[in-house]
Point group: C2
């Protein structure tokens, strides 16, 4: 059988890795796929030829990405440019040209996936995006196919390696956020502008995709609540540890009777949970299905070769499905396009979770009772309360509380009342808390 | 579209769970698969109608399994009888009748898979067996499809829940093997005859399957080295813990330059590894690919609904591939049948690993030097050596050593020489040790 001909957009970190994997493992991949896979046309504005093994195997490398998506020889376009534009235009044109698309672009899928999938469905082509979530971990495949018999109850994932590296370092070494961020930037784990990673936007893109696939809903990035890790303090990491918890930056999607929760935020989780022990730049996604119970998928969430691993797996999948009746292929969002649900996404005030609260209380008797009184009046149960010893000369001491599950709207009110107390200084620190129990 | 018609063999734990999942989640499964999936004919010698939700949805339940595989209405046969015979005959006849097969039967696949897959290939039908390894965890799919771009280097898995439950209890409570086994039997985690689980045969079946898929070799159960956990003592669990390790019963398949290692045995692994923290009846498989690095898949490895989750996912996969050109389907053993390799499986004497050794040494000076001398003469490096304090009146004390990696054949010789020392009493306990480093 003749090799399948690939067009490649982008020769950066992931593009270069994809060239390397496709050429280095060409024989083994062909033994699996039943036919060869060859990049015939690539485009990149600039790239480092010396840094990419296998580049000499590509027939033609140019600068014009549109020439690749218009190349009649190309059957599958791999989009590894990233960003919204011109990625969106290129992908839509590839689809219009009847080409299948493989992409690692989470921002594109989270923001424009509904439009892109509709166009692909219409044209009878596939758009595969395993590499968009958790890098090399085949989580899209697991959710969309491996757990196809389940009613998915919730998904909780460490889906941003930079954030996890920072939190791991803060815990292991007791260091501050800013300090670790600077190190992460020096190591190349964090961008010069780290906003996308540390403010949770990257994780929110990925969570949006996971939620759509898990629950059969359209992609709704604008409805994903997003809170980053930049305000996590070393003392909160330490207090959490003392209480038997770890702080992880999680993307959580949960189906409850009123609708669907989609939220990205720092989260206290019991330190004995497997996912609490996922450290450094690694990613992991925990999925709870009604039949299978909890399952977890772990691996490198970024990087050249790990992400390329997912890209190549998608290419092999597309090659295998080339002869399939389009109606029998795995649907883009796991559910048949006509079967997506309009289940409402809950506003944050309506979600339910437990909380870690830290406040700075004047060091005098009665403050704890005042705070506990406010929570009690609102029907919020306290699981634990802890007042730290004052240091010499301290007028205020940290007061830490863990609450049981309560509606966020009610907690907002409790926090407003607590902050209004004379004996409490500054803002109340609130970190959500999940047991992630099977 | 008309529903796909299923024939079901067996209404035991997994059969009952499959009925329950297929009926309870029927609407959601159809939203994914694009068409309904309906059991039209089931056979079981005996079953408990009251224990199985959804049984009333089956058109016909009889006692004759061959009537199911011969039923012209049935498109896909689900085999959940277990064991070698008549499962083999039933599966082969279903194939001969042009029906696709889904099975959870690891013994059948490990022993007769080569024959079954050849017959299926010849007839152009699919045999799916996700449920045969690690229950509900979609590890077959991950290895066969999700990591299709990788050269797999090794696989290491906790793939027997009973064994993992026993080792977890031994560690957590300091209890003896026999004592915990009795509890596992009372809880229903272990069979009345626990041989398959505690002697590693069940794990060896599963490892045989994983190795074939990872490396593109035929199934070779007879070449899998198998050592159970029944000789693990509470003191070894405790000593391992002191040294920073945990004992897990692992199935390990590794590709080295000389060939392939396939082995199931208790293994010391660093306690900080994620897989070292997989406790109780849970399963996990760690896979190292050259591109993706280490990835881990975790979940329930047995039980009614978790195993049914994998069975149903396979059914959905088969339904989706019904219209696919048979040559483009995912090959049974991940690689095209014509592309399987005859890479030799190494005899155990040729494998390389590190070791934990415990021996009972006379409590007098010089014994440690004698033992270290034997290892040194054979070129075996010692990583750590530890002599326990004697109790009052003890003539012998435990001497524990960790070695660096060495060929097993050499270690056999070292152990024989150590056991021949006058100052050493009884057998040397040997537990293999792996870092499982990425």
């Amino acid at each position: 059988m003749t090799p399948v001909k690939i067009g490649l957009l982008g020769l950066g970190t992931v593009g270069g890795g994809t060239v390397t994997v496709l050429t280095r493992n060409a024989a083994e991949i062909a033994r699996r796929a039943g036919r060869g896979i060859r990049i015939v046309h690539a485009a990149a504005r600039e790239y480092d030829p010396a840094a990419i093994a296998g580049l000499d195997q590509i027939d033609h490398i140019g600068q014009d990405a549109f020439a690749v998506v218009d190349d009649p020889e190309v059957a599958i376009v791999i989009e590894l440019i990233g960003g919204y534009s011109p990625a969106r235009e290129l992908v839509l044109r590839a689809i219009a040209n009847g080409k299948h698309v493989v992409t690692a672009n989470k921002a594109l899928i989270a923001m424009h996936g509904n439009e892109i999938f509709a166009a692909a469905q219409e044209r009878g082509v596939m758009v595969a995006f395993e590499a968009a979530v958790a890098g090399g971990v085949p989580i899209i495949k697991a959710l969309r196919e491996g757990l196809a018999g389940n009613h998915i109850e919730w998904v909780a994932g460490i889906i941003n390696g930079t954030g996890n590296f920072i939190l791991t370092e803060m815990r292991d070494k007791g260091r501050d956020f800013a300090d670790v961020l600077a190190e992460a930037q020096a190591l190349g784990y964090a961008e010069a502008d780290p906003t996308f990673d540390v403010e949770g936007i990257d994780a929110a893109h990925k969570l949006t995709i996971l939620a759509a696939i898990a629950f059969g809903i359209p992609l709704q990035f604008d409805k994903t609540f997003t809170e980053g890790i930049s305000r996590i303090e070393a003392q909160d990491v330490a207090f959490a540890e003392e209480l038997g918890y770890r702080i992880k930056h999680l993307g959580i999607a949960r189906r409850v009777s009123a609708g669907i929760e989609m939220r990205v935020h720092p989260t206290l989780i019991p330190h004995r949970r497997l996912i609490a022990n996922v450290d450094g730049v690694m990613n992991a996604v925990l999925v709870k299905g009604d039949a299978v119970g909890p399952t977890l998928y772990y691996g490198a969430g970024a990087g050249s070769l790990p992400t390329a691993s997912a890209v190549v797996a998608d290419v092999v999948d597309v090659v295998r499905a080339l002869t399939t009746d389009p109606n029998n292929r795995v649907p883009h969002l796991a559910f048949q396009p006509s079967e997506l649900a309009d289940t409402p996404v809950l506003p944050m005030s309506e979600i339910e979770t437990a909380y870690y609260l830290r406040l700075s209380a004047r060091d005098k008797p009665g403050v704890m009772a005042q705070v506990a009184g406010i929570l009690g009046d609102l029907g919020i149960s306290i699981e634990a309360i802890k007042q730290k010893e004052p240091g010499e000369g301290d007028t205020h001491v940290p007061l830490i509380m863990l609450t049981h599950r309560v509606r966020e709207g009610l907690m907002d009110e409790a926090i407003a009342r607590i902050e209004a107390l004379d004996a409490v200084s500054g803002d109340v620190v609130r970190i959500r808390m999940e047991t992630l129990a099977g």
